[in-house]
């Protein structure tokens, strides 16, 4: 419906004729404050009332430290696994012709769509000693369910779509000319991938990695069923917050929450910087 020519448009842009700025922005800020900002600030305000000494001893207690090591360590590992298989999956989906590709493509989003509690009880059952997958692993001495390995499986499951979904569109949009030029200059396929394609998809891979990591760190539902939840061994940080809440230890729960919130904040910052960089790279 391009009714106005270029000149008329340029003229109208100087004076925005579209109504509703005050109303839509006002409502946006009001609702954002009410639902997100004010409730989130309650964590900050609550933790501001702690003395530094108690705060520090709460967040660095041995059980807490064990849960950070477990949660952040396994989340890093899971995000790394997701990078490798995510890039492979994105490559196959973006570049090859496959029968039933649309189904495979839709299936990649299953971890987003499947509620975490369902994922949790299912993974726990499938990987338990007599489960569909567990029964093949158990004879080899590999116990997955109710061990930290189970946490890795759950975190890999829920982070699976992120790298695929960030890398796939970038791969699909890559200009073929660069690869053709490299091939004409005598580069082999591996050289083309590592020197031409990989640098172009690296920001997307890192963004996907950060998203998968952030999701895995905060995950609760799919983990608690498969983890075994032994303090010091297989207890993740979100579960520790729940445990504190159930004991009505609100200050303790809040203190741990501030640690997790600061980690999410830095991951969010990293993602924003990455996206800014890749946008500059693209233009």
């Amino acid at each position: 419906m391009p009714l106005l020519g270029g000149n008329a448009m340029k003229h109208s842009r100087r004076q925005n004729v579209i109504p509703g700025f005050g109303l839509s922005l006002g409502y946006t800020i009001f609702y954002l404050s009410l639902i997100v900002l004010i409730p989130l600030s309650s964590v900050v305000v609550k933790s501001a009332s702690f003395s530094w000494g108690t705060y520090w001893s709460t967040v660095t207690a041995p059980r807490e430290m064990a849960s950070y090591r477990l949660t952040f360590g396994v989340a890093l590992l899971a995000a790394t696994i997701n990078c490798v298989f995510g890039v492979l999956t994105a490559w196959v989906l973006a570049r090859y012709r496959l029968p039933g590709k649309r189904i495979v493509d839709a299936l990649v989003d299953l971890p987003f769509a499947l509620p975490t509690a369902v994922a949790g009880i299912t993974l726990a059952t499938v990987y338990s000693g007599n489960g569909w997958i567990g029964r093949w692993l158990e004879p080899h001495g590999i116990k997955v369910a109710y061990t930290p390995l189970g946490i890795l499986v759950a975190m890999t499951f829920i982070g699976l779509p992120f790298v695929v979904r960030t890398v796939q569109p970038v791969l699909a949009d890559l200009e073929g000319e660069l690869e053709e030029a490299a091939a004409c200059l005598g580069a082999n396929r591996w050289q083309i991938f590592s020197r031409v394609v990989f640098p172009q998809i690296l920001p997307a891979i890192l963004t996907g990695f950060a998203l998968a990591f952030a999701r895995a760190v905060g995950e609760y539902g799919s983990i608690i069923f498969i983890a075994g939840n032994m303090p010091m061994v297989s207890e993740v940080t979100p579960l520790l917050i729940i445990t504190k809440l159930e004991q009505y230890d609100y200050p303790g729960a809040t203190a741990i929450a501030t640690v997790m919130l600061s980690v999410s904040f830095f991951v969010l910052l990293a993602i924003n910087l990455l996206q800014k960089r890749s946008r500059r790279f693209a233009s």
Binding site: M1, L3, L4, M9, S12, N16, V17, I18, G20, F21, T28, L32, I35, V36, P39, S42, K46, L88, T89, V92, R95, Y96, R97, L98, R102, V104, A106, L107, V108, D109, L110, P111, A113, L114, P115, A117, V118, A119, V126, W132, F157, G176, E179, A183, C184, R189, G218, Y220, G221, F225, I241, I242, L245, Y250, A257, M260, L261, S264, F265, L268
Partner: protein
């Protein structure tokens, strides 16, 4: 195998050594399909297989349990409140962000995305800190007999929080890409603001809108962590479907737990199909326009 299968897309593979050798292609495809089969297909199939382990009659009977029926009703109610509220917010936010320039815009976009990077457990905790008995408003609320935490309002609030960004983040890039020329044309021709929105903007964004609604509905019905913190797990009163699944599972009532879980797994499959359909519509629209 048919030569066209596994062929690289779009280009002539013979032209400039543009693709990997067939053996490598086969290997990559096999690795990816095996990975997806183990991590996605096996769990999905096992939900339905476990749910029907004791036969159809037991399956239907466990869905007809009074506590389960109450949980289904509560989940539907929660989604029916939170999805429309976030839809309204998403439209308002996308309108302000896509059609106008103002300072602090990128900060606003980051803040809208914030609930995605907060752990579900913390999403519940913040409402406990606000409305719980030890919280800011707790004493005042209990003096006036209003229950938010361990009651339905808390569940709805936590659900609104975790589904907060879905519609907005679909609509913002879509409306930014569409620009504002069409709306300006309608307004210059004398249409009112609301008519312009209804007749010009809405038809342009309807698929993106539907996409956001599908995603936020799936999350609203399936949220576990945040809801679990604020619900109090009162049987037959404040349990949503995912919490009911947890209770049945912890009672070692596996067949019933998977039967109820199969409802959510079915919802997930429907969500994926609907999502693919809408993605296909959006692609068609953008390639035609």
């Amino acid at each position: 195998m048919h030569p066209g299968v596994l062929a690289p897309k779009g280009r002539n593979p013979a032209a400039a050594g543009q693709s990997e050798p067939l053996a490598i292609r086969l290997l990559l495809v096999t690795v990816v399909l095996c990975f997806l089969a183990v991590f996605l297909v096996v769990p999905l199939v096992s939900v339905f297989s476990q749910a029907l382990a004791k036969g159809w009659e037991a399956y239907l009977a466990s869905l007809y349990e009074p506590d389960t029926r109450i949980a289904i009703r509560l989940t539907l109610l929660t989604a029916a409140i939170s999805v429309p509220l976030n839809l309204l917010f998403g439209i308002a936010a996308a309108w302000a962000i896509a059609k106008f320039d103002f300072p602090g815009k990128s900060l606003l976009v980051t803040l809208i995305d914030l609930p995605f990077s907060v752990s579900p457990v913390i999403s519940g905790l913040i409402y406990v800190l606000l409305f719980g008995l030890q919280g800011w408003l707790g004493p005042w609320l209990s003096a006036h007999g209003i229950k938010i935490i361990f009651a339905v309002p808390g569940i709805v609030l936590a659900t609104i929080f975790v589904t907060f960004p879905f519609v907005a983040r679909e609509l913002i890039p879509l409306m930014e890409a569409q620009g504002k020329e069409e709306e300006e044309a309608a307004l210059v021709l004398g249409a009112s603001g609301f008519t312009t929105f209804r007749r010009v903007t809405l038809p342009n964004i309807k698929w993106g809108l539907l996409y956001g609604v599908i995603l936020s509905n799936a999350r609203a019905m399936g949220e576990f962590g945040a809801v679990s913190v604020v619900s109090g797990h009162i049987r037959g009163a404040t349990n949503t479907i995912p919490l009911q699944v947890e209770i049945l599972y912890n009672d070692y009532n596996y067949a019933a737990a998977f039967a109820v879980a199969s409802l959510l797994a079915f919802l997930a499959v429907v969500t994926l199909v609907a999502k693919s359909f809408v993605e296909w519509r959006i692609r068609e629209n953008s390639s035609c326009g």
